[in-house]
Symmetry: C2
């Protein structure tokens, strides 16, 4: 029966029920109470231990619920019919060497993937794609969050894409980006990357061809690959992605018309029309990633492809990570009206949903004008930083690089004047405290140049000057070292 030495410690922290439970469970697991052994009735056990019968009953019920004991009304509990070897994790399982977990081909590809750029460490000049969080009006944003959370109590389950945010965002995008859509076409996602992946999976089957700009955005490349695409890297000319004369036919085209990633070029209107005509003729979907189009410095920003197309086959993707701050992690897609249903289902199936209080807070932030005001302010700040960056780089390394000042955005590309290897230069810069990304790693297919992709938005004038000075020094040194080695 129960171990005659078994005594409950009335001074212990654990309650009597818990002690009894633990002792009986341990006896079963160790084999002291083997399968099939009947325990005393709870009445008898309570008497033996000098405790209330309920104390015993609770422990027995718990052990029965967990499968250690079989119980039936009017019968004494019996240790469940299983062998010790099957109950304990130890011997039986450990005898045989556990088989390793096999992962999918996707997992294997992820381990090899060249994106995101790893080992860049803490953000520092000139990491691309980062907004400066320091001038952000955190206090106003905090109030929007608090207000949204307070107002939530009245609400029960919300729609996945909050109408408040859809309406506020549409007004902003219609005015500033020429978007033509209804509010319900806006799908809110936990990042622009999530939107790109979701759309790619909705359009592409395994083996389908997808075009992307080369050089182009690595995040799009991996999202298209995840969806099973064969990738066709399409070179650029001065007007953008050079589609003329190609005989291959993609199912999807990914482009960055406003500020081509990473060259910063603006896709010409002619090329936009050509691209839309091609897509209409061939039934091709277009993803337009308008990632940092809010910040435009020279001339007027050009209206988005989405508006030119009338929203029939362009999926417009945007993000708050550039216009607010990186950690906000909210993106969105504007999808063709006829596809809203299926995209919402995809969003549910993939769980790509943004917290409702966060969406409501963003809606308030946009609606109250804080969003547009912050963009206006940062446009002035970032334009000055771009100009400072161009000037500082020219002064420090003007003879070794060619700079194409971008008409907008948060980063610029410098091409290396001689046949310098941008990957080794990037490593030298990293060692000296500067983050740069090598242009050569942005190509899909043939590598068409060596250069450095540098962000200027997140650093002030002093940091830009200091960074440019380091960059100039490293370029001079690494050239000298190369001469010495040669």
């Amino acid at each position: 029966m129960i171990d005659p030495d078994f005594e409950l410690d009335r001074r212990a922290d654990a309650g009597l029920t818990r002690q009894l439970y633990d002792r009986v469970r341990a006896a079963i697991l160790s084999g002291t109470l083997p399968p099939g052994r009947r325990l005393p009735s709870s009445r008898a056990l309570a008497r033996q231990l000098g405790v209330a019968r309920n104390t015993v009953s609770f422990a027995i019920d718990q052990l029965a619920m967990e499968g250690y004991l079989d119980t039936a009304p009017g019968r004494r509990p019996i240790v469940a019919g299983t062998t010790k070897a099957r109950l304990v994790t130890g011997p039986a399982a450990a005898d045989r060497r556990p088989a390793a977990l096999k992962l999918s081909r996707w997992a294997a590809r992820l381990r090899q993937a060249d994106w995101p750029f790893m080992n860049e460490g803490r953000p520092r000049p000139f990491r691309p794609g980062v907004a400066d969080p320091r001038p952000f009006p955190h206090e106003l944003w905090a109030r929007c969050l608090r207000r949204a959370a307070r107002q939530a109590s009245a609400r029960s389950v919300a729609k996945e894409n909050r109408p408040s945010l859809q309406a506020a965002l549409l007004r902003h995008l219609a005015e500033h980006r020429g978007i033509k859509a209804e509010a319900h076409q806006i799908i809110v996602t936990p990042s622009a990357q999530a939107a790109i992946e979701l759309i790619a999976r909705l359009v592409l089957d395994a083996g389908d061809l997808a075009w992307l700009e080369s050089p182009g955005y690595g995040g799009a490349r991996v999202a298209l690959e995840s969806a099973g695409a064969r990738l066709g890297g399409v070179p650029l000319d001065r007007s953008g992605i050079a589609i003329a004369g190609r005989s291959d036919r993609p199912r999807l085209i990914f482009v960055t018309p406003s500020h081509q990633y990473p060259t910063g070029r603006l896709m010409s209107v002619t090329r936009r029309q050509e691209l839309l005509a091609f897509a209409a003729h061939t039934g091709t979907a277009i993803i337009e990633d308008d990632y940092d189009s809010e910040f435009h410095y020279d001339g007027r920003p050009v209206a988005a492809l989405q508006g030119l197309d009338g929203g029939a086959r362009v999926f417009y993707v945007g993000t708050f990570s550039k216009s607010m701050f990186a950690d906000i992690r909210v993106g969105y897609a504007i999808v063709p009206d006829a596809l809203v249903d299926v995209v919402e289902r995809a969003q549910r199936h993939a769980g790509q949903i943004v917290s409702a209080p966060l969406q409501d807070a963003l809606a308030g932030f946009v609606e109250d004008g804080h969003f547009a005001a912050h963009i206006r302010r940062m446009t002035r700040v970032y334009r000055a930083r771009r100009d400072r960056m161009v000037a500082a780089l020219s002064a420090e390394a003007g003879d070794r690089i060619t700079i194409a000042p971008p008409p907008g955005g948060m980063q610029l590309l410098v091409e290396l004047a001689d046949d310098r290897d941008d990957q080794s230069l990037t490593r030298d810069l990293a060692a000296a405290g500067i983050t740069a990304r090598p242009l050569s790693r942005h190509f899909t297919g043939a590598i068409g140049g060596q250069g450095l992709f540098l962000g200027f938005a997140a650093w002030d004038e002093r940091e830009i000057d200091a960074g440019a000075a380091i960059l100039g020094r490293v370029m001079r040194q690494s050239r000298r070292q190369r001469r010495i080695r040669a």
Copy 2:
């Protein structure tokens, strides 16, 4: 040259540059200014129009940037070399009927999918899986959000999975769920669904077999299908998923051991050990969805599979949507230590990232004890509601249904005593104002029973009584109507 009637309206709202830009662009688009035509120099044009030369230059630069004009230093601007037909959207594109967008097989499956349950309309009794947002401490939560947003200014780019939340959550889960892990093994996702899909894609290749409980959770079914799985529905016995004697070998098993979905059953410890031994022997991954295990009413909650396994092959999935409120949309997975790297990469590639301020606010909410306090409070509330629900249903329809009161969670399953069709009954209930989900639609493979899956957590005693009364009336009526028809 330029239309001699061309005049700028100095009183108009639009600036002179904008007017000039619009007129020249319109002239190019209409063909009045054909490709190859040279414009006057900006100096001559400024003189002709009586405006400053900069006004003209800005307009010309914008038109050049957009591809309407070709410019070169010292030369007059020339209309870009493209045909009218290629520039305008109209004729050329519209002549040919645009080809329809083709979607992927996944999109086609989504359109057919039986999940999520659509057309349930606004939440009302007895929609399953919904927490009651009314007693939630929205004011405390609002303060946590505000604090997190205020403290964000110091931070630059954050880690995708915030260490603050990982640490707070781990402490909670180790104490309450027997989780054995390091904090960095916690991956924070925009919903539990996102975590399930991500893990499925990391483990499964197209055509791989995945087991899931039958009846079971529809969200898991579609996530496994999205990852390309062949589904094997495994029937339940009293102890949970009945794996003994099967000769098929899955790559992944999805289970809900704490409160089986939808039966509410607790998986016995014996079955847990068997399942883990099977998985270790066969190299199978397990997803343990612990979706509402926080709320346990009878006996102690049983420790999670993850802790029993030592974290080698169990992916533990949880959510804040049940313990806080549905719209919070934050889930998490605890993944094997050796796989943290690849899961983080998958998270980046799929964009499954949760806003940093939201993660920090949650960390504060857990750390300050609000989370545990809310769970303690709601456990008492929900237990009383479960008991009320069981009593009310027994009183109203006890002769027509069998109720198995679940030991925890937010919903219960009633089996229909006769061979009543649960789908038609669900429709009758919907018409009378009651949401129920038919058990028959929860099976994968053979349908093993008819029943109603009902949530009790989100409604108070009065709502429960009223809902049960409607349910009883509808059941009596629909039986009578069936008799009349027969």
